[in-house]
Amino acid sequence: MGTRRHVHVAGRGAVSGFGAGVQKLVDAVFAGRSAVRLRERTAPIPAPTAVAAEVPPECLPPAGSRCSLAAHLAVLAARQALAEADADPAAVQLVLASTKADLSGLLGPGTGEGQPARLARRVAEELELAGVLAAVSAACASGLVGLSLAARRLARGEVEQVLVVGIDVLTSFTMAGFGGLHALDPEPCRPFDIRRRGISLGEGAAALLLTADGSRSIGVRLSGHGVSNDAFHALQPDAQGDGLVLAAQRALCSAGLTREQVDLLHAHGTGTTANDQAEARGLARLFRGATPPAFGTKGQTGHTLGASGVLESLLVIAAMERRCVPANAGLEEPDVDAGLDLVRAARSLGRARHALKVAGGFGGLQAALVFST
C-alpha cells in the first residue's frame, strides 16, 4: 500500500426539516429547536404517530415538475455543496447513499422504483457531474458507508473530487414499515431518555464534497473511517455494542488516533430502547467508561434514514467549528450506560480537533467516521 492521501471537506449542503441550507440546519440544532412536529404533507398517511420532520413546503418540487421529491432534494443539497466548493461539476464524481431512494413509481405516477443507482444517475445527469462512482444502500448506515467508500477512493488516488449525497424522503412505504415494526414514537422522539418509545421519522438530503486537494478544504478532514457488522441479528443490535466498537476502532486506527484524542462524539441515537442501550454500552466501553461529550440530533431532525449519516456529519463539523456541543434535545432523564457523556446543556470545548461519528442499521451494519481539523 502506497502513501495515502488526505481527504478534505470542501463543500456542504443540506435540505432538512428546517429548510434548505446548512446554516438553517446548524442554527436550529444549536438553538435547541426541533423540526419534528405535527405532520402536514404526510398527514393522510396512516401511521401510529402524528409527528415527523417534513421538509417545509418551499423545499418541495414546484407544481408540474417532473422531478421526484427525492431527486429534487438531492439536487438542492448537492448544488449547495458544489457552490461552497466552487467546484466544476464536470470534474466531480457522485456517491449517492439511500435506503429506498426514489419510490415515486411504485407509490404513484413517478419513475423511481427504489433503486439508488437509478436515482444516482438521475442526479448526476441533472447536475452534469462527471459520473456516478457508487450508489450505496446500507440501511441507516448508508450515509457513513457512502462517505467511507468515497474516502477510500480519494485516499487511493483513484479520484480527485467526490460529492457524497445522502437522501431519503417520507413515504407511506417507510412510515407503514416502521409503524409495522412498532418502532415509531407517537410523540417527538427522545433518544437516550427513559421515556423514549421509538424513532421519529424525518426526511432530507445532505451533501459533502470531498477532495484530495488540501488548498480547497474548509479546514476539516475526513481522517478515518471504519465499517463492521454485528453478525448478530437482522434487526436487533448486538446488546453489548460490539460491532459498533469494532467500527469505531477501525475508524480511529485509520485516522492514526487513540481514543484519548477524540474531543467530541456524535451518536446515532435513534430513540429505540435497544439501539440506544447497545450504542451507549459500546461507546462507554470503547472509551473505558467515560466518553467525550456526546450528542445526538434525531430528536431535532428526525431519523432521515439514508440521509442521516451525511446530515449529522454536517452537525459534527459545525460542532468542531463552534467548539461547542449542543444539548441532546428531549433528553431529561438518561436511561443508558452512564459512561456515555450525554450533553444536557450546550457545552463549550477547549479543544475540538477530532470528532467521532457513528451510525448503525438493520442487517447489523455499523459505521464510524473521524473528522479532524
Binding site: 411504485l106 457508487a134 415494526l181 457488522n229 453478525a231 438493520f362
Partner: protein, 222 residues
C-alpha cells in the same frame, strides 16, 4: 496485503439449480424442489437444517445457498472472520420484497416481517450473521453496466488491508418482469483472500470486463 488475492471458493444459484466449488451441480428437480429456493431447499440440498432459512426473502435464501455451495464455513478460519468483508451488488435490489410489502399495504395489512427485506442490504446481514463475519460490509446498488463492482471494491479492501478475506456477491431476484428483465434468479458468492490462508485456490482473481459474475457462473456450470 502483500499476497495477490485469489479466488478461494465460488457458489452459484440460479433458476436451474445450485453449483459451487464445494457442491456438484444440482438441479432443483434432482432434490425434489419444485420452486427455486423454496423453504425446504436448504435441507434438500445440504442434508441439514437451518432454523431461520424459511423466514428469509428469496434473495437472502439464494445468497445463503450460494455461500453454502462455496463452503464459506469451511474456507474461512475462525480467526479470519472478524476481518472478512462482504460486498454485495445488485441491480434489482429488493424489488420483489418492495412489491410484496406494497401489496400488503393495499390489503390493509402491514407485513412487518417483510419490511426489513425491503432493504437490499438485509441479505448481506444474513450472510454476516450465519458465518459470524464482522469485517467491513457494503451493499452497492448498480446498473447493469457496472456489473463486477463488488469484485473491484473487494480488491480495494484487500489491497488496503481493511479486510483479510472478502465475500464478493451478486444477487438478482425477480419473481415477475421488471424494467424489461425477469423473471430471474441469480446469486453468486465469490470467496476472495490470500493464497497464504492455506486453502486451495480456485484460481487467480476473476477477469475484469464484461460481467465477471456471469463469467464465473458460466465457468462453474461448464
Amino acid at each position: 496485503m502483500n499476497d495477490a488475492p485469489m479466488l478461494l471458493g465460488l457458489g452459484v444459484v440460479d433458476d436451474i439449480g445450485v453449483v459451487g466449488s464445494a457442491k456438484p451441480a444440482t438441479r432443483w428437480q434432482d432434490v425434489g424442489v419444485t420452486q427455486a429456493c423454496m423453504g425446504r431447499s436448504y435441507s434438500a440440498l445440504f442434508g441439514r437444517r437451518d432454523a431461520t432459512y424459511r423466514r428469509l426473502d428469496r434473495p437472502s435464501r439464494a445468497l445463503v445457498l450460494a455461500a453454502e455451495a462455496a463452503d464459506v464455513d469451511g474456507l474461512l478460519p475462525r480467526e479470519a472472520r472478524d476481518d472478512t468483508a462482504i460486498v454485495l451488488e445488485t441491480v434489482c435490489g429488493s424489488f420483489d420484497s418492495d412489491r410484496r410489502f406494497l401489496d400488503s399495504l393495499a390489503r390493509g395489512v402491514v407485513e412487518g416481517a417483510v419490511f426489513p427485506y425491503t432493504l437490499p442490504s438485509a441479505s448481506l446481514g444474513e450472510l454476516a450473521q450465519r458465518y459470524r463475519l464482522r469485517g467491513p460490509c457494503v451493499c452497492l446498488s448498480i446498473e447493469p453496466s457496472q456489473a463486477g463492482e463488488s469484485l473491484r471494491e473487494a480488491r480495494r479492501l484487500l489491497e488496503d488491508g481493511e479486510a483479510r478475506c472478502v465475500l464478493a456477491a451478486r444477487v438478482e431476484s425477480l419473481a415477475e418482469t421488471w424494467a424489461g428483465r425477469g423473471p430471474l434468479l441469480l446469486a453468486v458468492v465469490a470467496v476472495l483472500g490470500p493464497a497464504t490462508l492455506g486453502r486451495p485456490t480456485l484460481g487467480p482473481w476473476p477477469a475484469d470486463g464484461g460481467d465477471p459474475f456471469e463469467t464465473l457462473a458460466r465457468a462453474l456450470r461448464a
